[in-house]
């Protein structure tokens, strides 16, 4: 009897610490912050801090800039990762094996290290420009370094997210059985038709998952935009840090954080819906 009741309690005992941690360290302070941002100077309910954010030119620029950088990074990311994952899924060659290894490499490099590696690689007079100079001094005069430019953030974000994205897309593609593709070929579909009408719809969920998780990661990131991005405009992550530390305005930083969180939470909702429809959906 005793053994049985402890066994039935065991799962609850096991999940209690993480729940306490999540509530105590994330939900509770987040809720507190949220309530604070909705409190006016006089202590009553008010939107004044959000109005302040909206009326502040640099905050709004930063919000728009963060969206732009995030979307451009995601476009670049999918443009690179989808073809790569397709190749890895459908090629049996040894090259594919090594390509997969290389694609996963950034996963094992700490973000700050890869950021510095990228700086050394593409800054002015960096490795890339030196190589170009060796090949053609004339060409190297036109070299445009993405360092401390928006492009720097985009390249850095893409570089960081490639392994995860390839893994998610590859997992999705591996679920598309070869039989489904061969059946399509059998009834007369060309490669393009197979791609657009079979493979793409069947990997929609994997792509959505990769989109959501990467969006959240890039939208709220700090290290890469701080190290590789321009001084202005800056992404919300950088702005938040500056507002908090350099400008010593914790209240404004808190508002920026809640806005960042709200955007990510919306995308997170999309993620949860995608994942749960997978569970209740087919198979």
């Amino acid at each position: 009897m005793v053994a049985r009741s402890t066994r039935s309690l065991l799962p609850y005992i096991l999940i209690t610490p993480p729940i306490i941690l999540v509530f105590g360290l994330i939900f509770f302070p987040a809720a507190q912050s949220f309530v604070r941002t909705l409190t006016g100077v006089d202590g009553s309910f008010s939107f004044e801090r959000y109005l302040e954010f909206m009326n502040d030119r640099s905050s709004v620029t930063s919000l728009i800039f963060t969206f732009q950088v995030t979307f451009l990074s995601l476009i670049g990311l999918f443009a690179i990762c989808y073809p790569l994952a397709l190749y890895l899924r459908f090629s049996n060659s040894r090259v594919a094996y090594w390509a997969q290894m290389v694609a996963l490499l950034p996963l094992f490099v700490p973000g700050i290290m890869s950021a510095y590696a990228l700086i050394r690689f593409f800054r002015g007079r960096g490795l890339l420009e030196t190589i170009i100079y060796q090949l053609s001094p004339v060409l190297s005069e036109t070299y445009y370094s993405p360092y401390v430019k928006p492009e720097g953030i985009i390249i850095g974000s893409i570089w960081e997210s490639i392994p995860f994205t390839v893994l998610v897309l590859l997992a999705g593609l591996r679920q598309v059985e070869s039989g489904l593709i061969e059946s399509a070929q059998d009834v007369g579909a060309s490669r393009w038709t197979i791609f657009f009408q079979i493979i793409l719809p069947l990997t929609r969920r994997a792509a959505l998952i990769a989109f959501c998780l990467n969006f959240i990661a890039i939208f709220g990131s700090y290290t890469i935009p701080y190290l590789l991005g321009p001084a202005a405009p800056q992404t919300l992550g950088v702005l938040m840090q500056r507002t908090y530390q350099e400008y010593a305005q914790p209240l404004q930083a808190e508002t920026q954080a809640v806005i960042t969180f709200a955007v990510c939470a919306l995308v997170g909702l999309l993620y949860v819906r995608t994942v749960s429809s997978q569970r209740t959906g087919r198979n």
């Binding site: 039989g179 061969e182 059946s183 070929q185 059998d186 009834v187 007369g188 579909a189 087919r282």
Partner: protein
């Protein structure tokens, strides 16, 4: 109105030769089964016909025209796969219509053909369903409809029913045969299940290790196996290693006669139904002891231990009163002699009076 011929068709995967120079002629409207154990190269042969594998050498002709250089999506063949057959994101209707849409048919035409195909496989109202709302058997019927709707010249089926339970398998098999006769399509059906092949096929190609061992009508595959492999693989068979000296093979208490004179090792193959049960004291018989009785419903299978011959499988009618450890006599009425590098020789012995039901042994 289509014929298929395979000429010296061969496929090699690295060091593995999956298919060795197969030659095969399939007539118009014929239902041919490729039968063989797992890994013998059946699927590889079929996939070469469909265009999913490129032959290492050899030729494939449909209606006399070579199709080897033709990509799978242009070949006049249609295939039903073993599993993962329907596209899970498309309704049944769209699954069947997919190939028709690619051919640019008018909507009304597509509509008519899809409905006809659904009617043909006996699922007329299933168009709006999603594949995951269908049972395994229904999915395979839709896959068949999807293949037939394109009116291919050759229908290819790779173990389409092997994931279904036994009863359903038999039902679908009969239905497939009915449909195939109705649309008069040339069909090639791959299976490892001999019962399936024997009951479906006009002719069977028995494959082993990438080679066609025998190509014949089902009854001859069973009655006159061309090789030891076929003899062993099809049906139940007693295979007894023996020595032939001239025209005789001494096997236990019996001296078997062979029409050809030769000295050497042979294998004597005897079907259980060609062994009559006689009295223990019968002189023209092997004396043996019943080791095991297996009840198979309307008859019984006996395992009988015969000294210096081995354990033989024998059938006994239920009426015959038998016990384990009982001594009985066995008289072979027909056997086949297999010798390496020679054609098998079928021998009939004089009929003997089987044990009377009433006789207490």
């Amino acid at each position: 109105m289509s014929t298929l011929s395979l000429k010296q068709l061969r496929k090699q995967f690295g060091d593995v030769t999956a298919v060795h120079e197969i030659n095969l002629e399939v007539g118009d409207g014929e239902f041919l089964c490729i039968l063989g154990p797992s890994g013998c190269g059946k699927s590889t042969a079929l996939r070469m016909i469909a265009g999913f594998e490129e032959p290492t050498s050899g030729d494939i002709l449909i209606d006399g025209q070579s199709v080897v250089t033709m990509a799978a999506n242009h070949r006049p063949t249609a295939m039903v796969f073993q599993k993962y057959t329907l596209w899970p994101h498309m309704k049944v209707y769209d699954n069947i219509a997919f190939g028709l849409k690619l051919r640019g048919l008018a909507r009304t035409e597509i509509d008519r053909k899809v409905n006809e195909a659904l009617e043909l496989v006996g699922l007329p109202d299933y168009g709006k369903r999603m594949p995951n709302q269908l049972s395994g058997g229904e999915q395979q019927r839709i896959a068949l409809a999807r293949a037939l709707v394109l009116e291919p010249k050759i229908l290819l089926l790779d173990e389409p029913f092997s994931n279904l339970d036994a009863l359903l398998r038999v039902r679908l098999r009969e239905e497939l045969r009915r449909i195939q006769r109705r649309v008069k399509i040339t069909a090639i059906f791959v299976t490892h299940d001999q019962e399936e092949a024997l009951s479906l096929a006009d002719r069977i190609a028995v494959m082993s290790k990438g080679r066609v061992e025998q190509l014949d009508v089902p009854s001859r595959i069973y009655d006159q196996p061309a090789t030891l492999f076929v003899a062993d693989f099809i049906g139940v068979m007693n295979l007894i290693p023996a020595q032939q000296n001239g025209a005789t093979i001494d096997l236990g208490a019996l001296r078997l006669e062979s029409p050809t004179r030769v000295n050497g090792t042979v294998t004597v193959a005897i079907r259980p139904e060609d062994i009559a049960i006689v009295g223990e004291s019968d002189v023209d018989a092997w004396g043996g002891e019943v080791e095991q009785i297996i009840d198979l419903g309307h008859y019984r299978k006996l395992l009988v231990k015969v000294p210096s011959v081995g354990t033989l499988k024998v059938y006994a009618p239920k009426a015959l009163d038998l016990r384990e450890n009982q001594l009985i006599g066995l008289n072979p009425s027909r056997f086949t002699i297999f010798r390496d590098g020679a054609a098998p020789i079928e021998v009939k012995r004089e009929a003997v009076a089987p044990l009377e039901m009433s006789v207490a042994v």
